[in-house]
Subunit: 203 residues, 2 copies
DNA sequence: CAAAAAACTGAACGCACATACAAAAATTTA
DNA sequence: TAAATTTTTGTATGTGCGTTCAGTTTTTTG
C-alpha cells in the first residue's frame, strides 16, 4: 500500500510536469510547434517518456487544455461566491473572465488555437461546449426571474460575444488591460438595461 | 507579345485555380490538414505543380487569405457607397461584416485559424492589421465630428469586438444567422448612444 | 544485500510531408 | 513540319515527426 501510494504520487507528479512543460512549449511555439521532443526537453526528460505516462501527444494536449479551462472557471466561481446582489454577481462573472495575469496575448492565442481546432477535434469541441454552458448558466443565475427569457438571451449573447471578442483581440497583441476590458463589458451591460431593470438587479 | 499575353493568362488562371483549390481543402481539412498533395489533387493537377507557380506552400496560403480578406472588405465598401445618413453608414458597415453566404462555420473557422497563426506569422499579422485598420477607419467615418474622441473609441471597440466574437462563435457552429447577428450589433450600438446622438447620426 | 519491480533512456522505425528535378507532353514559333 | 519553348508530370530526396522498445538505471521489496 505504501508502494501504491508512492507510485501514484510519482505518476501524478510526472504527468503534471509534462502538462506544464507542454503549456510552456505551447505558449512559445504555438499549437503547430508543439512537438513531443520539445515537450520532453522542456520537462527535462528524454524523448520516450511521454508515451510512458500518456497514451500519446494528443492526450497531453487535451489534459493541458482541460487544466486551463478549469483554472478560468474556478476564477469565476470564487468571485461569484462572494457577490451579494445580482449586479454584483454580474460584475464577478465579467471580472472572472479577465483574470489578472491570465488575460495575456500568448494565453489568448492558445485559447484561440483550441477554438479553431475544435472544428476537427471532438474532444476539444466538448470542452468548449462545457465552458460556454457554464458561462451561460452563470449569466442565467443573474437574470433569472428578473428579465423575460428572450431579453435575457439577447443580453447574455451580447456580453458573451464581447468577452470572446476581447480575448480574440488580445491574442493579436492589442493593448487591452483586464481593467479596461471589464469596464467596457460592464458599460455595455448597463447600457442594455433600463433604469428599472438595473435597480432590480442591485436589490 | 502574343506569347507574353497568353502566358500571363495561363499563369493567372493556374494560380487562381490553385488558390481556390487551397481554399476548398482549407474548408474541409483545416489549416493543419492542408497538404500540397491535397491542394494539387483538388485542383486536378499533379503534385509538383505547386512549386512551379508558387514559391512554396506558404505562398499559396497567403494568397488565399488575402483574397478572402479582399472579398469581405469589398462587401463593406459596396454597402457603404450607397448609404446616405451616418446611421445608414453604420448599418452598412455592420451588415457588410456578416455577408450572406460567407458568415458560415467553416469560413469562420478558417478566419480563426489565421488569427491564431498571426502570432507566429508576420505576413498574416500584417494582413490582420490592415483589416482592422480598415474597420476602424470605416467606423470613424460614421462618428467623426459627432462624438468626442474617447467616446468614439469606446463605441468602436465595443462594436468591433462584438463582431469578432460573433464570428468566433459561428466558428464553433453556433446557429447565428447573418440577420440576427446584424440586429444584435445594431441593438447594442443604439443602446450605447443617447437619443440626441442618435438623432444627430440620422440627420 | 540480492531480487524484483518501477522509472527512465535514447536509438531506431515508419510515416507524412514539402520540395526538387529530370523527363515527358503540350504548345508556340519560324 | 521541325525546332524551341512552355507547361505538366511523377518520382526521388531529405526532413521532421510520433511512437516503439530493448536495454539501463533507480527504487522498492523481502
Amino acid at each position: 500500500m505504501t508502494k501504491i501510494a508512492f507510485r501514484t504520487r510519482i505518476e501524478d507528479l510526472r504527468r503534471r510536469e509534462l502538462i506544464q512543460a507542454a503549456h510552456r512549449v505551447f505558449m512559445q511555439h504555438g499549437l503547430g510547434g508543439m512537438t513531443t521532443k520539445r515537450i520532453c526537453e522542456e520537462a527535462g526528460m528524454s524523448a520516450g517518456i511521454l508515451s510512458y505516462y500518456f497514451k500519446g501527444k494528443e492526450d497531453v494536449l487535451f489534459a493541458m487544455v482541460r487544466l486551463n479551462n478549469r483554472l478560468l472557471m474556478e476564477a469565476v466561481a470564487s468571485g461569484l461566491a462572494q457577490a451579494k446582489t445580482r449586479w454584483g454577481r454580474l460584475q464577478a462573472i465579467i471580472a472572472g473572465n479577465f483574470p489578472e495575469g491570465l488575460f495575456e496575448p500568448n494565453i489568448a492565442n492558445a485559447w484561440l488555437s483550441v477554438c479553431a481546432a475544435s472544428a476537427t477535434n471532438a474532444r476539444y469541441a466538448r470542452l468548449q461546449r462545457i465552458f460556454y454552458a457554464r458561462l451561460q448558466s452563470n449569466l442565467a443565475s443573474v437574470f433569472r426571474d428578473v428579465l423575460p427569457d428572450a431579453r435575457f438571451k439577447q443580453i447574455a449573447l451580447a456580453l458573451g460575444t464581447m468577452i470572446d471578442g476581447l480575448w480574440l483581440r488580445r491574442a493579436t497583441g492589442e493593448a487591452l488591460s483586464p481593467h479596461d476590458s471589464i469596464a467596457l463589458v460592464l458599460a455595455v451591460a448597463a447600457a442594455l438595461l433600463t433604469e428599472a431593470e438595473r435597480a432590480q438587479l442591485q436589490a
